[in-house]
Symmetry: C2
Subunit: 210 residues, 2 copies
C-alpha cells in the first residue's frame, strides 16, 4: 500500500488535473480522485488541507502556464515594435490561453470568492505579474516615473478587465452563438489596443506639454 514518499501527492495532483480538464471543476470530488489513484478520500488530506487547497494548487499551475505564455510573448517580439503591436500580441496570447485552457481559466479567474478566501495572499503575486506585463507594454519606450507607473497599473487593470469580460463570457457560453466568435475576439483585442493609444496620448499631454 505504502508508496515512495510524496508519490501519492503527485498522483493526486495529476488525477485532479486530469479530472479538471476532462470533466470540469464542478465534477471534482475528493472521493472520485481518491478512488482513481487508489486511496481513500481522507488520505488526500495528508497532502492538502482541504479541497480548496487542492484546487489552489491547480490554480498555481495555471498561473505558471499563463505567465510563461505571456513572458514568452513579450520576449519573442522585436524591440522596435510599437506599444500597440506589443499589446495586440499580448492580448491575443491571453485569449489563446483562455481558449486552449478554458478549465484552467475558469478556476483561475471565474471561481466563486468563497473558494478563494483561503487562497494564500502571496500566490496572488504571480497573478499580478501578468498585469505588470500589460503595464510594461503600456509604457513601452516612455520615461519612467512613479506617477506614470501607477497610472499604467490602473490602465493595465482596466485593460485586463476588458479582455476578461469577453473571455469569461465566451467560456460561460453567454455570447449569442449567432455572432462570430473570432471576430468578437478580434474586436475585443482592438478595443484593448485602442486603450493603449488613449493612454499614451493622455500621458504625453499630461507630462510633456510641449
Amino acid at each position: 500500500m505504502s508508496r515512495p514518499a510524496g508519490e501519492l501527492r503527485r498522483a493526486i495532483l495529476d488525477e485532479a488535473r486530469k479530472s479538471l480538464l476532462e470533466r470540469g471543476y464542478t465534477a471534482l470530488s475528493m472521493r472520485k480522485i481518491a478512488s482513481a489513484v487508489g486511496c481513500t478520500a481522507t488520505s488526500i488530506y495528508l497532502y492538502f488541507d482541504n479541497k480548496d487547497a487542492l484546487i489552489h494548487a491547480l490554480i498555481d499551475e495555471g498561473f505558471e502556464q499563463l505567465n510563461q505564455v505571456l513572458t514568452q510573448a513579450t520576449e519573442g517580439l522585436e524591440a522596435n515594435q510599437s506599444a500597440e503591436a506589443r499589446m495586440r500580441h499580448l492580448a491575443y496570447c491571453y485569449f489563446r490561453f483562455g481558449e486552449e485552457n478554458p478549465e484552467y481559466y475558469e478556476i483561475m479567474f471565474m471561481l466563486h470568492p468563497t473558494m478563494m478566501e483561503r487562497y494564500p495572499a502571496e500566490n496572488y503575486r504571480r497573478a499580478r505579474r501578468n498585469l505588470e506585463l500589460f503595464a510594461e507594454a503600456l509604457t513601452l519606450g516612455m520615461p519612467e516615473g512613479t506617477a506614470r507607473q501607477i497610472a499604467a497599473k490602473s490602465a493595465a487593470t482596466l485593460l485586463w478587465t476588458s479582455l476578461h469580460g469577453c473571455m469569461s463570457l465566451l467560456i460561460a457560453q453567454r455570447i449569442d452563438v449567432r455572432l462570430d466568435r473570432r471576430s468578437l475576439v478580434d474586436e475585443a483585442v482592438e478595443h484593448a489596443v485602442s486603450l493603449v493609444t488613449r493612454f499614451r496620448q493622455a500621458e504625453t499631454i499630461g507630462s510633456d506639454p510641449s
Copy 2:
C-alpha cells in the same frame, strides 16, 4: 398547515430572495429555505422543478429589474443628447445595478454554465433586450439598415463584455484593493464610450463615403 393556494410558492420565492441577498447563492439550500418558510424541502418541488428552476426564477426577477433600470435610463434622457452621453448614462446605470445588487448580478451573469443548462431559452429574450438598448444607443440618430443593425449588435456585445469584465471582477473581489474602485469604474465607462465614437466613425466612413 394548508395555506391559500399559491401562497407557499410566493413565500418560498421571497425566502429564497432574502437568503440570496443576505448570504449569497452558495448558501441557498432547499432545506434551509423550507425550514424558514415552515414546510419541508420536498414541498418546494411542488412549485419548482428543482433547485436550478428556483434560482432561474430569481434570475428572471433580476433581469426584470435591470431591464427597468436601463429602459428608465434611456427614457429619462433628453432627445438631443449625443450617442456618447446616452451610452455613458447607460453604462453608469449598468454599473450601479451591479454594485447595488451584486447577488443578483452574480446569479444573472456569473453562474456556472451547468446551472444554466436547463434555463428556458425563451427567458434569454429579456437578457437580449438589454443588449438591444446598448445597440440603440450606438446607432442613435443614424439611418437604419440591416447591415448596421448587425454591426451594432456585435459592437453592443463587445461593449457589454467590457463592462461585465470590470463589474464581475469587482464583485468577485479580484481587483487590487489599492486601486480606487470608483475611478476604475469611471475609466471603464469612458473606455466603453470611446467604443461608441469608434463605431460611429467606422460606420459613417463605411456607408457614407463623402
